[in-house]
């Protein structure tokens, strides 16, 4: 695994959605980076902005009602937010690809799966049809779809959920991408299939040295797959570190609360520890730290000023006034 070089750097990404009820401040100054060959886990609950982050990077935010208000997304020396749609299209599907939670809605039900993967290949590589078909069959074999030669001519509904996800992975990897964004890739799959798909992603990631932005609300998946983790809450990153740091030494009250709220397979607890309250409405987010209304350690400053992401130990950052000295 070749590491150490930065592939993607997101700086101060802010995305808003202009709806009938008001402006949803979905992302507020999100910053992180992914190294080459690294798996970054982006974890958070519903509405935290993890999917919006992914679609912002891909520049797939529907405009209107969405708008990337500010920020920079540096990829291979270029700011993706400044590229034209044509330039972005060359990157999308080839250098940066995405797989989604529900493969059934990403695959066209009336086209054969092989054809759909072929389309993806031909869009980015100037090769002949015959060679394209051969590559498709090879890809299917690589993702362990049984009976690859026959499977390419089948339709999506003829496959199980896990198999469809493999087709999506084949499509996503057809361009040998530098960055794969996987948005809840196994959430819709059964537990016994989940491990298969995650193993596949990991294997291919190693083989192609692809970086992966793995988005999930499942902390178990993140703990097992990711090398680095960013915890998101209400449109902001609240904690960032490598996976051991986050799980063995969680710093942010939200991260701690989240880990305590999960029933543990190894220990028995009578009552689960609960984070009081609920996720804020991002049309009217709380002032200062967005977590402050639910935080047991809340101080005055938390209610007024947005806490900056600061480094507490090497590589481990947290946005919380519990850790900044003398502010």
């Amino acid at each position: 695994m070749i590491m150490g070089e930065e592939l993607l750097r997101v700086e101060n990404l802010t995305t808003h959605f202009y709806t009938e009820e008001g402006i949803v401040k979905a992302l507020d100054g999100v910053s992180f980076s992914i190294q080459k060959g690294e798996i970054l886990g982006l974890v958070g609950e519903t509405g935290c902005g993890k999917s919006v982050t992914a679609t912002s990077i891909m520049r797939l935010i529907p405009v209107p009602p969405g708008k990337i208000v500010s920020g920079e997304i540096w990829f291979e020396g270029k700011d993706l937010l400044k590229l034209s749609e044509d330039q972005m299209r060359k990157i999308r599907g080839k250098d940066i690809t995405m797989i989604f939670q529900d493969p059934m809605s990403s695959l066209n039900p009336v086209l054969r799966v092989g054809f759909q993967v072929l389309e993806a290949i031909l869009a980015h590589f100037p090769i002949q049809l015959k060679e394209g078909m051969a590559r498709v069959v090879e890809l299917f074999k690589k993702v362990n779809i049984p009976d690859a030669e026959q499977s390419v001519s089948r339709y999506p509904h003829q496959f199980s959920g896990g198999m469809r996800q493999r087709v999506m992975i084949a499509m996503a990897l057809s361009g040998q991408p530098k960055l794969l964004i996987a948005d809840e890739p196994t959430t819709a799959l059964d537990v016994s299939i989940q491990a298969q798909i995650l193993t596949l992603i990991k294997r291919l990631q190693k083989e192609y040295n692809t970086s992966v932005l793995l988005i999930s609300h499942d902390l178990g998946v993140i703990a097992t797959m990711a090398q680095k983790v960013a915890v998101m809450y209400a449109g902001r990153i609240v904690e960032y570190g490598n996976v051991e740091q986050i799980f063995n030494n969680p710093l942010h009250p939200y991260t701690k609360g989240l880990l305590k709220a999960i029933p543990d397979l190894d220990e028995d607890r009578e009552w689960l520890e609960v984070i009081p309250g609920s996720v804020p409405n991002l049309i009217y987010p709380p002032e200062g730290c967005r977590f402050h209304p639910r935080c047991a350690y809340v101080k005055d400053i938390c209610k007024k000023e947005k806490p900056p992401l600061i480094e507490v130990e090497e590589g481990h950052k947290v946005a919380c006034y519990e850790y900044s000295k003398g502010r």
Binding site: G162, M163, A223, T224, N248, I262, L265, D268, S278
Partner: protein
């Protein structure tokens, strides 16, 4: 005396082909000879993946679907012998909470009416004022407020809607509640709130729960006894501690191994893999239904179906490794 007992329950769905004169060509054996019992005040966890038949079992148990075979006993009385008034009472005493909080509440009714309907249907109180009072007290019990009475479901979050669904299930004073994946659609932090609430309610009201889920860590947290289902059959059935300390059935073992834990364990994802696909319930494998994925499959597993055998006290397994 068990509060709910199920004997050899079967639910087959016919598959028909043909447009003009459809003919039955086969059956999806969603629930195929399932037996278990539930004691008062206890929670039985029913765990399985897609196609296991766990949700169908819950629906058939409450007679929201008609069984194809077998019997359900409520307080030792068989449902097949119930008269109309018996059923009406059953609908008060046995309730259900569904998985999806976004579709289990009528979008066109206010909360007061949604939760209050059972009172009206069963004539449990007389005046409108009494209905409002009773609804309010139940809402408070599940953690909601008076101002929520006149709101519509779409104004609430997923967690709140589940509370409303729980309130609706509680208002007729039931003894038994089927919880069909009640927290699967909720975020982790909301799930914790709801699980705590359910536990509290069980203790306070001596409720018996059939808790259906695919999430083994949740099942472990809530259950006293657990039944593991695979393709319509129960493959293992025992007390919670025994199941998690000493899982016997290869499927249970594989399932436990395959769950990624939210902690640093040193386990690699590759070690968690169970090979193979889950077969379709309309065409299950011959013999033991797990034989296509079982690392211990023997020739007999391909021919005959194992039955549930008591391997140690109170621990039942359906597997030829132990028969």
């Amino acid at each position: 005396m068990s509060i709910v007992r199920v004997d050899n329950l079967k639910k087959y769905f016919p598959i028909d082909k043909g447009i003009i004169f459809p003919k039955i060509v086969g059956y999806v054996k969603a629930v195929d000879d399932v037996s278990f019992s539930l004691e008062k005040g206890e929670t039985l966890g029913l765990v399985g993946e897609s196609g296991s038949g766990k949700s169908t079992t819950g629906l058939v148990l409450l007679r929201l679907l008609e069984p194809t075979g077998g019997e359900v006993y409520f307080n030792e009385k068989p449902l097949s012998s119930f008269t109309e008034p018996d059923f009406k009472l059953f609908r008060q005493k046995a309730q259900i909470v569904f998985q999806d909080p976004f579709s289990s509440l009528n979008p066109r009714m206010i909360i007061k009416d949604i939760v209050g309907r059972p009172l009206k249907i069963h004539g449990l109180v007389k005046t409108d004022k009494e209905i409002e009072e009773k609804v309010l007290s139940i809402l408070k019990e599940v953690g909601l407020k008076e101002e929520h009475l006149i709101r519509y479901p779409h104004e609430f979050s997923g967690g709140q809607r589940q509370r409303i669904a729980i309130a609706r299930a509680l208002i007729s004073n039931p003894e038994f509640i089927v919880l069909d994946e009640p927290t699967s659609a909720l975020d982790v932090s909301v799930q914790a709130q709801i699980l705590n609430l359910l536990k509290e309610l069980q203790m306070r009201r001596s409720l018996s729960y059939l808790f259906i889920s695919h999430d083994l860590s949740v099942i472990k947290h809530v259950s006293h006894r657990v039944a593991v289902m695979y393709l319509g059959k129960i493959v293992e059935y025992t007390e919670k501690e025994k199941l998690f300390k000493n899982p016997l059935h290869p499927y249970t073992q594989a399932l436990l191994k395959s769950i990624p834990k939210p902690k640093i364990t040193g386990e690699e994802i590759e070690d968690k893999v169970i090979e193979g696909e889950i077969p379709s319930p309309s065409n299950p494998p011959k013999g033991c239904r797990f034989n296509t994925r079982c690392p211990y499959a023997k020739p007999v597993c391909l021919e005959k179906e194992p039955s549930l055998v008591e391997v140690e006290k109170g621990h039942f397994v359906a597997c030829f490794k132990y028969e």
